[in-house]
């Protein structure tokens, strides 16, 4: 093994892959076989965190950063003058196995620039996964990128060896995609997604009848969109996410705040700040849809197409629906308790359990882990609550954000200054 050359390739191909947000190793189980290597569980494990605070759970690299496309937002675009490299199949397998044996990672996330054409690229990705599974007896997590335009046969094979597959939608709107990636088309990006979705549902049907059916993308599919490279609004983004959750059974939609790395007149300037707060609010909205029973239409509507950067979307919803409050902690159903600002899924569950034993008060609520500074204005206890007098106050929002200051304060007005 030529470690110096390998190190050089790893540096180039990890650097080029870092803008892909997904690093989840969760969502599927794959039990280890006797005497083999690796085991993945439903919750996944983050093994470390980069200095930007993001989780590292998979070895995330490109197979190559040679690419025939010239998408404006991508560092690997063909017209960009950068160092290029390509791993061999053996090198990726060796890195994965050796990192895994040292407990650095949960598995591999392999993506690639598109060289020659879609099928050649996809075939090479599949070959890595296949070698890991069949020759190395590896049962850790494998996430492969579905290459737009790859054939159904290759997608079929990919799903047999990978845990998760994903296609990047790149830009939330079709018009935005046309502007920044004129050679790509949305239909071609979505077709492998549809194929995998059908395959998964067929697998689930067969599983009910036969005991042994080979696993088919057990951790499902995900996608990601770049936020802030074009001028779409948050409502459009949330609607796209909702569409894919509903119609393609996606496990996750990731939002990637655009990091300006390239000079291009179609893109925000290089001095634009990464819209981290906006990205964060989008994730909060995403959580509301997936875990809190909110519908996309409830989070934003056409009159209000952007998320409030000052407060989180749940609090924002509550302030627009004061008529639904106060909520009685002792009698309200779980779904309503989930809608109280400052109360998360875990606390809501604890409340429903604990209230069977005794009548709860503010002190209990605090101890159960609620953010009482927000929750206190929206709750009624059987014994009353002095803070309820503020519920109808014109300045409730000010009151709620009064004590806190955000390090993202300079981003609050970002939507206006983007272009």
């Amino acid at each position: 093994m030529n470690f110096d050359r390998l190190k050089e390739k790893l540096e180039i191909l990890a650097d080029a892959a870092k803008y892909d947000v997904s690093c989840s190793s969760s969502g599927g189980t794959r039990k280890n076989k006797k005497g083999a290597l690796g085991d993945s569980s439903i919750s996944g494990i983050c093994h470390t965190y980069t200095e930007d605070g993001r989780c590292v759970s998979l070895l995330k690299v490109l197979l190559t950063n040679h690419c025939i496309y010239d998408c404006a937002y991508c560092v690997s675009r063909s017209s960009n003058d950068i160092k290029r490299a390509a791993f061999t199949v053996e090198e990726v397998v060796d890195l994965t196995i050796n990192f895994y044996r040292r407990n650095y990672i949960e598995g591999l996330f392999l993506s690639s620039g598109i060289f020659k054409n879609a099928d050649t690229t996809m075939e090479r990705l599949v070959r890595v996964a296949k070698k890991l599974r069949l020759e190395e007896n590896f049962n850790g997590y494998i996430h492969l990128k579905s290459i737009p335009g790859a054939s159904d046969e290759l997608m079929q094979e990919a799903a047999l060896y990978a845990d998760r597959l994903s296609v990047n939608l790149e830009i939330p709107t079709e018009s935005g995609l046309k502007l920044l990636a004129p050679e790509k088309n949305r239909a071609e990006m979505i077709s492998p997604m549809r194929y995998i979705q059908k395959g998964i549902s067929q697998y689930n049907d067969e599983k009910k009848i036969f005991r042994k059916v080979p696993k088919f993308a057990p951790a499902g599919q995900s996608t990601q969109m770049i936020v802030g490279a074009t001028n779409e609004n948050d409502l459009q983004i949330i609607k796209v996410a909702d569409h894919f959750y509903k119609n393609y059974n996606l496990k996750r939609v990731y939002y990637s705040g655009y990091v300006p790395v390239l000079e291009d007149k179609r893109l925000p300037s290089l001095t634009t700040e990464v819209p981290m707060l906006r990205e964060n609010r989008l994730y909060q909205s995403d959580w509301l849809m997936r875990f809190y029973g909110f519908k996309a239409e409830e989070i934003l509507d056409p009159n209000l197409p952007f998320l409030d950067l000052e407060i989180d979307p749940k609090l924002s919803w509550a302030l627009r629906h004061l008529d639904q409050f106060p909520i009685n902690l002792q009698t309200a159903d779980y779904q309503m308790i989930l809608r109280i600002p400052g109360i998360g899924v875990k606390t809501a569950k604890k409340i429903v359990q604990a209230r069977r034993f005794q009548i709860l008060n503010m002190d209990h609520l605090k101890k159960l882990g609620a953010a009482v500074n927000r929750a206190k204005y929206f709750i009624d206890f059987n014994a009353g609550n002095v803070f309820l007098k503020y519920l109808t106050n014109q300045n409730l929002k000010k009151l709620l954000i009064g004590g806190s200051s955000s390090k993202f304060h300079n981003q609050f007005s970002q939507q206006l200054t983007l272009f």
Partner: protein
């Protein structure tokens, strides 16, 4: 006041709890022998001899009342090494005996129960971190060796995880603070208790030839996968507290 002294094992603690009921002690405290320094000179001490039968009877009763997962929670309190752990466990068991048909561990409005839930959360977090932050280093004899120094005694809680995961390589995980570990030799996965502390002085000289190369690759990967424009050290440290850094290859 009666002080019960037990041998420091979980079975010993359950035996002690059994004897609290058996002898109808009212005002009672339980201590591990090693932790105990007599402060209350008027206290009567009662030495508990660990008896598996007694421990098992408590175990069975608990299984009926709060289920295996409930017992698992009490075990985590025990492994937390919290100075109050014996008192809290006794308190929970007494509560459970009084209310056999309810899962008293969900009564979060009770102070001791809430403490159990908090301790479990801390222990679970540490357990999870130890599945994440263990870094194996390959030695000349092919064994993958990791040293850890967790705040809580989590080795019994991570054994299964590593046993399931690494079946085709020999490995050891060694708790520096408590001076014991687990060892997997391709056949069995058992605890080991060395007579003296493992000598770590010449440790790195016994690395396998390729070990330092893979460490370098991992360190470079760690740097290159970071997006400098998004730097957020506060978040970084929140996720990877500094006390773990010296054991993390990528942070050295």
């Amino acid at each position: 006041m009666t002080t019960l002294l037990y041998d420091g094992s979980f079975d010993g603690l359950l035996t002690a709890v059994f004897e609290v009921f058996e002898y109808r002690y009212k005002d009672v405290e339980i201590f591990g022998k090693n932790q105990y320094h007599q402060e209350n000179i008027f206290a009567e001490t009662h030495e508990v001899v660990t008896q598996t039968e007694k421990a098992e009877r408590v175990f069975k009763k608990l299984e009926e009342n709060i289920g295996r997962s409930g017992i698992h929670q009490l075990l985590k309190v025990f492994l937390s090494e919290d100075p109050e752990s014996e008192r809290i466990i006794l308190s929970a068991i007494q509560l459970s005996v009084q209310h056999p048909h309810e899962n008293i561990l969900q009564n979060y409005a009770d102070n001791d129960i809430l403490k159990i839930s908090k301790i479990c959360k801390s222990v679970d977090r540490e357990r999870h971190r130890m599945t994440a932050f263990v870094r194996f280093e390959k030695m000349q004899d092919g064994v993958f060796f990791a040293k850890i120094d967790p705040d809580f005694n989590v080795i019994p809680l991570i054994r299964k995880h590593f046993k399931d995961r690494y079946q085709d390589q020999k490995w050891m995980i060694y708790d520096l603070r408590r001076n014991y570990g687990i060892l997997y030799d391709l056949e069995n996965c058992d605890f080991f208790y060395p007579d003296e502390k493992l000598d770590l002085d010449q440790y790195e000289q016994k690395f396998h030839d390729e070990e330092s190369q893979y460490q370098k690759l991992w360190q470079r990967y760690f740097i290159k996968t970071n997006i400098t424009e998004r730097k957020n050290l506060k978040l970084h440290i929140q996720h990877v507290p500094k006390r773990y850094w010296k054991y993390l290859t990528e942070k050295r």
